[in-house]
């Protein structure tokens, strides 16, 4: 059975550089660079304070700061982007329960949008290239992010289980990389294998609008509306047999594809 939706989702694209886009690009990039540098400079001091007052483990504190960094980015973008979070009261979703988030991927800024989530303790599963950005690398390592490209599955699984067992969440981009044509691409198995092995639910997140904001291979930003829709959790216990991982993957992709197509109308 091939994984196709009756009405496949395709993110909208913008080709011309408008005045609004020019204004946004010239404003938002300097603000982002300033916000990032401020974060890097203040981090040691803030980390010490957080550690003193909360006693949390290092990884949890760093993940909290990364989430706050994302919240700050949302504020910086607000003059140009209208954000909407649709999912605080999703049936069957207890935000205190550790889960494996899976999100569609259209833009570099998708990770920043995770500041919309009402939980901060999230370890991202990413390819090796983000670890090469020196200004983020240290924080990603401290936050115990998963390197799904360079590490063996045994290592990834063990590290992921540790995060989940400590009450944290994992986040995967199951497409593996940003969509070049705006369509939902094929899904890799990692997130779903992790769900089956850990018994934790998969929570699909459907993100629309980031492909208009900044798609791959475009440098300028476009003012837009961004919506994050949280779908009902999918319990891996409901899938049995030799193809559990694949069945779970197909079901989650089907639900995301339908929700994205629905949100696009």
């Amino acid at each position: 059975m091939r994984e196709t939706a009756s009405q496949p989702y395709k993110a909208k694209t913008v080709t011309g550089l408008s005045l609004g886009a020019l204004l946004m690009t010239m404003t938002a990039y300097p603000l982002m660079i300033g916000w990032t540098l401020l974060g890097i400079l203040l981090f040691p001091l803030l980390f010490a304070g957080w550690y003193y007052f909360t006693g949390w483990p290092t990884a949890k504190i760093v993940r909290h700061f990364i989430w706050l960094y994302g919240r700050g980015w949302l504020l910086l973008m607000r003059p140009f982007v209208r954000f909407r979070f649709d999912g605080k009261d999703v049936e069957g979703r207890n935000w205190q329960e550790p889960a494996i988030f899976v999100v569609n991927h259209c833009s570099f800024f998708d990770t920043y949008c995770m500041g919309l989530l009402p939980v901060f303790d999230i370890a991202f599963a990413v390819r090796s290239w983000p670890f090469k950005m020196w200004w983020y690398r240290r924080f990603m390592l401290l936050a115990r992010y998963l390197n799904v490209e360079d590490d063996s599955w045994e290592d990834i699984s063990a590290k992921g289980r540790k995060v989940l067992d400590a009450g944290g969440n994992l986040l995967f981009f199951p497409e593996g990389h940003r969509s070049r044509d705006g369509k939902l691409q094929r899904f890799y198995n990692g997130a779903f294998r992790m769900a089956v092995e850990s018994g934790r639910p998969v929570v699909p997140l459907c993100l629309t609008g980031t492909g208009e904001l900044l798609p791959p291979e475009r440098w300028w930003m476009q003012p837009t509306h961004i919506t994050m829709r949280v779908l009902a959790p999918v319990d891996p216990a409901g899938f049995e047999g030799d193809d559990t991982v694949r069945s779970l993957r197909i079901e989650v992709k089907k639900r995301m594809s339908e929700a994205l197509a629905e949100g696009d109308r």
Binding site: M1, R2, E3, R127, V148, E149, W153, G176, R186, Y188, N189, G190, D242, D243, V245, R246
Partner: protein, 86 residues
């Protein structure tokens, strides 16, 4: 199982797992350059072959040398022959 049945089983299993187009699946097709697989797919490819043929190959060093579909056919044929002889 004859050779064509083995090839069909491999092609069907990989096409379903990785959403490949059957027309692209020739013996010469490079898994990475022609079929768009990458390092993240290696674990899944092993699992798919293990499930399709009922053998264990994850510790087999020869798996790491596979580059084309033809390599997979030869590798699986060798494994099936080993099984038949033992």
């Amino acid at each position: 199982m004859n050779e064509q049945e083995m090839i069909d089983l491999i092609n069907n299993a990989l096409a379903e797992e990785f959403e490949l187009e059957p027309d692209d699946m020739t013996a010469e097709a490079n898994l990475y350059e022609d079929l768009g697989l990458d390092s993240l797919d290696a674990v899944d490819m092993v699992v798919v072959l293990e499930q399709a043929f009922g053998f264990k190959i994850r510790e087999d060093q020869a798996v790491r040398e596979i580059r084309t579909l033809g390599d997979i056919y030869r590798f699986v044929a060798g494994k099936l022959q080993d099984q038949a002889e033992n």
